[in-house]
């Protein structure tokens, strides 16, 4: 069938700059560039270009520019070029449209409608360069009250297991199989260096990464891949994954061709078969069942680790979160609709779930109203772009933040949204042995640790500006936030006042 799809991008090659070095050919993972032997010239064939910018970055003479195809359709607000392309693709394949990364639609970004406070005159701001500034955060169940032995001045209350984070930013779940082993090693090493955690996702823990166990969150998801007593015991936190923001309510299929021998060893499944994660966990059909799995994991780890439960932010998140805490979750993770993935049906990614800001505000609020807030930490994820978003999230009530997409961008990701093809030219979302080598864990870990370091400096600056010297004083402190361009309903749900009030 003749395809009616047009190239998404065009490639401009400045022939005066191009030195015919063929770097673009070797860097491209979708065969856009080629060497024309007859003309003795490197040329481009834009049909396959996905706009990943790999060739542009690696061209030694800056000869290349990748641009959106300027070819114009007749203007139509309803029938945009993307809508037309999607229909065309479906007419030509009969399949569900797959995509990668998170929701890219222009839904409101509430972070951009929230502003932080700063001290002026009536209370002094603090200069973090000269004064200590505390970012340490403890995740896990906190007691309702603490008792101190008056004689020894030691704590009488027996605390549940807590995890100390030096910075309240962790790396979100990205499974081995979706991302490469070098990406996971980079994440694990950066998390260890910076005193925070990384998350295995549901693809098991590669034997090579067990040594980072004390900085690792291991996931137990519907596929139960690689879930084994050693895996559970190696971890700092065990996370039950119910859902994720990029595909709430549905499972996942890691295609057989990505199940290489190493992926098979780590997931503990045969090589080459699809790794199917069912939509629900079949031992969890209710809050009571969730409690059963939480306590099964607590039993399996002898009550030494906090158990986390991750859900996608959906309409009834507040009520669900309340149930999760009552079921025994020590940490609850809310993944907003901007949360990314290695593969998801586009229709789900773009249309299901709710903004994380609203979910966070309503969950934090509900847990406070019900007197449960101390019983579980709240961790959020899904589109956190910078330390400003982190500070606002903490002020809205989050204990810590997971970053996924931002971490991948630190490693080189240019958000071309082709994760589902397994041909990531940046060597991130692939198990192809050649592409995988493009991430060097020494450099990857450095880039990620640098990112966390930058954000922690900025967080300290913002805290100092507000006149507070510990992240704990910002947590859930919505008085430090004001809204702009929001309706009364939005302000009510977020629990913040309008700027100027």
């Amino acid at each position: 069938m003749k395809s009616y799809l047009e190239p998404k991008f065009i490639i401009q090659r400045d022939q005066e700059r191009c030195i015919q070095c063929k770097v673009c050919i070797t860097q491209c993972s979708v065969d856009t560039h080629y060497y024309d032997t007859e003309d003795d010239e490197v040329k481009s064939y834009p049909d396959t270009c996905v706009g990943c910018q790999r060739c542009v970055v690696f061209c030694p003479t800056q000869a290349l520019t990748v641009k959106k195809n300027p070819n114009e359709y007749r203007e139509n607000y309803n029938w945009s070029p993307e809508v037309i392309e999607d229909i065309t693709k479906q007419a030509e394949t009969g399949g569900i449209l797959l995509t990668g990364m998170g929701n890219d639609r222009d839904y409101p970004i509430y972070w951009d409608h929230l502003l932080l406070n700063a001290s002026q005159v009536t209370n002094p701001s603090i200069d973090p360069l000269r004064e200590p500034m505390e970012l340490a955060t403890y995740l896990g169940r906190k007691p309702d009250r603490v008792e101190i032995d008056p004689d020894t001045l030691s704590l009488k209350t027996k605390l549940d297991p807590l995890v100390k984070l030096d910075i309240p930013i962790m790396f979100a779940a990205m499974s081995y199989g979706a991302v490469s082993i070098n990406v996971q090693e980079s994440l694990a090493r950066a998390a260890t260096e910076m005193g925070t955690l990384w998350d295995t996702g549901e693809g098991g823990l590669h034997s090579k990464l067990y040594k980072y166990g004390s900085h690792t969150v291991v996931q137990v998801a519907s596929g139960r891949f690689g879930v084994h007593p050693d895996y559970l015991n190696a971890a700092r936190v065990v996370e039950i994954k119910i859902g994720q923001g990029a595909k709430p309510g549905i499972g996942g299929h890691l295609p057989g061709e990505k199940v290489s021998d190493q992926v098979s060893l780590t997931r503990m499944i045969p090589q080459g078969t699809d790794a199917l994660s069912p939509a629900p966990q079949h031992d969890i059909y209710s809050i009571e069942d969730l409690a059963q799995l939480i306590y099964a994991l607590k039993e399996a780890t002898n009550y030494t680790k906090p158990i986390s439960v991750k859900i996608a932010a959906v309409h009834n998140s507040a009520a669900i979160a309340s149930g999760m805490v009552r079921a025994g979750a020590d940490i609850i993770v809310l993944d907003g609709f901007r949360g990314a993935t290695g593969a998801t049906p586009k229709i789900i990614r773009n249309n299901v779930g709710i903004p994380i800001e609203l979910a966070l505000a309503s969950v934090d609020n509900r847990l406070r109203q019900e007197g449960l807030r101390n019983q579980a930490s709240i961790v959020i994820s899904g589109g956190i772009r910078n330390s400003g978003d982190v500070a606002k999230a903490i002020a809205l009530g989050a204990d810590a933040i997971y970053i996924g997409t931002a971490a991948l961008v630190a490693l080189g990701c240019h958000l071309c949204q082709q994760c589902h093809t397994g041909k990531c030219s940046w060597g991130i979302c692939t198990t192809d042995p050649t592409l995988t080598k493009r991430i060097n864990p020494d450099i990857g870990a450095r880039r990620l640790a640098n990112l966390l370091h930058s954000w922690s400096l900025e967080l300290k600056d913002m805290l100092g500006g507000m006149g507070i010297n510990a992240i704990e004083s910002l947590r859930g402190n919505r008085l430090h936030l004001r809204g702009v361009g929001l309706t009364d309903t939005e302000l009510r749900i977020l629990g913040v006042r309008m700027a100027g009030e």
Binding site: K89, R224, P229, H253, I269, T273, L276, P278, D283, A300
Partner: protein, 248 residues
């Protein structure tokens, strides 16, 4: 000489009971008898070394969840989630069992004298030299072997009256690995779309002979009499049942 330890479980909360079992196992007990068990969950989970546990009464959900090498005998019925995500070991049940028996198990064996409820063997896997097996003496409810990615599931139908069929529907829905053997009548409409039916080959007979003999040894049956009956074999028609679902 094997050390046998006994616990009277009456009135003991599961957490305390499991701590006692764990303590005994750590101290070197090789056989543990639990009496008056009544609904305590997670028995056999998290033992740092394999032991033999004999249960009198009715254990609660998730019996042997994440179990790694222990052997459990239940003189009574078992409830839901028995053998959940089991890595290695054996569970023998002298009665019936509930939902999702052997869910996501990657190794070990489960023998049940009576019948089971829904979704038995769901998402069982196999891996390297590990191949879980579940043998059910009676019959089952719907979705048996759903999403199965490996392992062996045997359904004997010994409690069906002459000529009576199994009632389960959606057998092997989404199956993409492993094998199901069924003794007793079944109609095509009861099967999931992803499974095919085949006659038994020589190696199937060997596998069945081994499993049914072991089953019979626990429950006092004559294996030859059970095996001397028509079995069918269900297998996954595709390794990648959903591979053609997507447009890229």
């Amino acid at each position: 000489m094997a050390k046998v330890a006994k616990i009277d479980a009456s009135g003991i909360y599961y957490r305390e009971l499991n701590q006692q079992i764990r303590r005994l196992a750590t101290e070197g007990a090789q056989q543990i008898e639990l009496h008056n068990v009544c609904g305590q969950r997670y028995i056999g989970t998290n033992l740092d070394r394999p032991v033999e546990i004999e249960i009198f009464g009715t254990p609660g959900n998730d019996l042997g969840a994440f179990m790694n090498g222990s052997e459990i005998t239940v003189n009574g019925n078992a409830q839901d989630g028995c053998g959940n995500t089991m890595n290695e070991g054996k569970i023998v049940i002298q009665g019936h069992a509930g939902d999702i028996i052997g869910s996501s198990a990657r190794g070990g064996k489960i023998f049940i004298k009576g019948s089971v409820s829904y979704r038995t063997g769901i998402h069982m896997k196999e891996y390297q030299n590990k191949q879980p097996a579940i043998v059910i003496g009676g019959t089952t409810q719907d979705f048996v072997g759903e999403y199965m990615a490996g392992g062996i599931l045997v359904l004997l139908g010994l409690n069906l009256n002459g000529g009576e069929n199994h009632k389960a529907c959606f057998i092997g829905t989404g199956m993409h690995g492993g094998v199901i053997y069924i003794r007793g009548g079944i109609e095509d409409y009861q099967l999931g779309k992803e499974v095919g039916i085949a006659e038994l080959a020589e190696n199937d007979h060997q596998i069945l002979h081994q499993l049914v003999s072991e089953f019979s040894s626990y429950f006092g049956y004559n294996a030859e009499l059970i095996l001397n009956h028509r079995f069918i074999k269900l297998f996954p028609r595709y390794l990648r049942p959903y591979g053609r679902l997507y447009a890229y």
